[in-house]
Each structure stands twice: as C-alpha cells, then as structure tokens.
Symmetry: C2
Subunit: 142 residues, 2 copies
DNA sequence: TTTGTGTGTCGATATCACTATTACACACAT
DNA sequence: ATGTGTGTAATAGTGATATCGACACACAAA
C-alpha cells in the first residue's frame, strides 16, 4: 500500500525553497530539479499553499516562496498537505455481512491500523524541512 | 495510487481460520466471507503458506489451516508476508543529478522514511491474530 | 497603460499496480 | 478409480497517478 510520489516530491520542493533562502523559484525551475513536468509542481504548490506552507509571487521575477520558517514545517505537515488516501486500505467491497468474521473483522482491525498510522505520523512530526535542508547543504558542500 | 487490500484480506483469512479452530476452510468458503473470488484467496494463501503461517489440506474435506498458533502470528508477520511494495515511494524518475538539491534529497529523507516505517511496523508487531479473533468472537457472540 | 512573465487550472493521454474471472493441470482422500 | 480442492497461468477490467499541451488570469516593470 504505497504512498504516492507526492510526498517525496513535495519535500523536495520545500527543501529547494529552504536552501535558496527567500529567492523565488519558478515552477519550471523546480520541475527541472525534480525531473518532471511543471504542471505536477504547480499542482503540489497549490496544495502546499492551501496548507499555508508556501505562497506564490506572481509576475516577472516571481515564483514560489516559503510561507513559514523551515524549522516550523514538519514533514508531517507536508504529508498531510499532499497525501489524501488512507495509509491502510481495507476491503474494496465490504465483506459478507452474514458471516461472523466478515461482519466484525473491520471493526476488529481498525484500532490497530489507526495506532500504526499514528505511530508513523508521530515519527514524521519529529523532523522539519530545516533539518532536511541542512543535510542537503552538508552533502552538497563537499 | 491503487493501494492494496491484501493486508486486510489476509488478516481476514487468518482470523477466520483462528475462529473456526482447526476445521479446514476451502478457498471458496473464505472467498464468500471476504466477498471476492477464490483465486484472490488462493494467491494470498500461497504467500501465507510460504511465510509459514498457513498450510493446505488437499483432497475432499480439505482446505486451509493455520500452521502456527494464533497468538504466535503477529500482524507484522502478515504484513510482511503479503505486502511487497515499500511504504513510501520516492521519485518515479530520479531527480536532476546536477542540482544540489536533486542530487542529495533522496539520501537526506531516506533515514526519516525508514524510521517512520519502522515505527509503523513496531506497532503492528504488538498485535496477534489471537487478539483479533477474540475481538471478533466477542462481537459476534452478542 | 502596455507588455511580458509566471501562475493556476482544465482536459486528454499514458502508465502502472491491483483486482476479478476463466481455465486447467496436479495432488490427495475416500 | 473417482471426486474434490489446490495452485498457477493468462486475460481483461478498474482506479489512481503521472504526463503533456493549452489557455485565461494576475501581477510587475517600463
């Protein structure tokens, strides 16, 4: 049950904005760095802006900017901004309601799945874009 | 991204086998309870048998059986047996190797993703099929 | 005010993983 | 020997995602 590439790409975007410290980056520039189309970037920027993580400078010399300090953007915020499917998917078609197991299995496993997702999200909440940017800077500075 | 229902269905299968305590269940019976085709069940049973969680009784009156005690099967074992994609997918096409960010972003975020996945798996390791079966029994016993 | 630039969004196409279904050879129990 | 059930292959269908081209709108600069 994989996540989409949106989370990884969105983190890439925010990290790039953090590394270039306040200089607006065009969606086309970001697309080059990510190696994808500009439309993909714009779609993600739209979600990130809606979540209050980025803003856009229109007109010539414009581009995307961070709306918050890098150390105030947790990876969990990014995850929630761009990922919309549940981590665990259950039965596509509801199981047999007459069977003892089918009628109760979903209620029985849901608490466990919720706990597992919460544990994962808690871990994502411990890292910020600032830390990722620092790691990228250190690696690129060699 | 088409997320897989395999984990939920496999848990359903094992719970059903645990609830019926040693009586072989045919893949067709399990398919009815899950509300899917028998081939889907067989495919999952094949993976579960390979992981040492189930075994099959051939011939008339046969079917699937648990190969271990329900309290020795953790949900983590089920997850690993049937789910083969990574939890987090990164860039589909590798990012620009010339850009400072593109060249280092994957190495920078990988440790975080690994920690998040580990936290999720640790949570799945705390629950066994026996507990799920008990919860289903309690709900069905009303 | 005019011009240029970049965003934001729509629609169509391609791609991938997963599910569903049919079919059939093989193994075991009675 | 017969019937039953498993295991696997092949195929088709589905849903989410990614990719590409195009265009209206907003802002900045001259």
């Amino acid at each position: 049950m994989p996540t989409s590439t949106r989370f990884a790409v969105a983190t890439h975007i925010l990290t790039a904005l953090a590394v270039t410290e306040g200089k607006p980056l065009r969606s086309e520039d970001l697309a080059t760095s990510v190696n994808t189309g500009a439309v993909v970037i714009r779609g993600l920027l739209s979600r990130l802006a809606e979540a209050g993580l980025t803003r856009s400078q229109l007109g010539s010399g414009g581009g995307a900017l961070l709306a918050k300090a890098p150390n105030e953007i947790r990876l969990l915020d990014v995850y929630r901004a761009v990922e919309d499917t549940e981590l665990f998917t259950v039965h596509r078609q509801p199981p047999c309601a007459e069977c003892p197991v089918g009628a109760n299995i979903l209620a029985a496993i849901n608490p466990v799945l919720t706990r597992a997702q919460t544990a994962m999200e808690a871990e994502l909440g411990r890292t910020t874009i600032a830390e990722i940017a620092a790691r990228v800077n250190a690696a690129a500075h060699v």
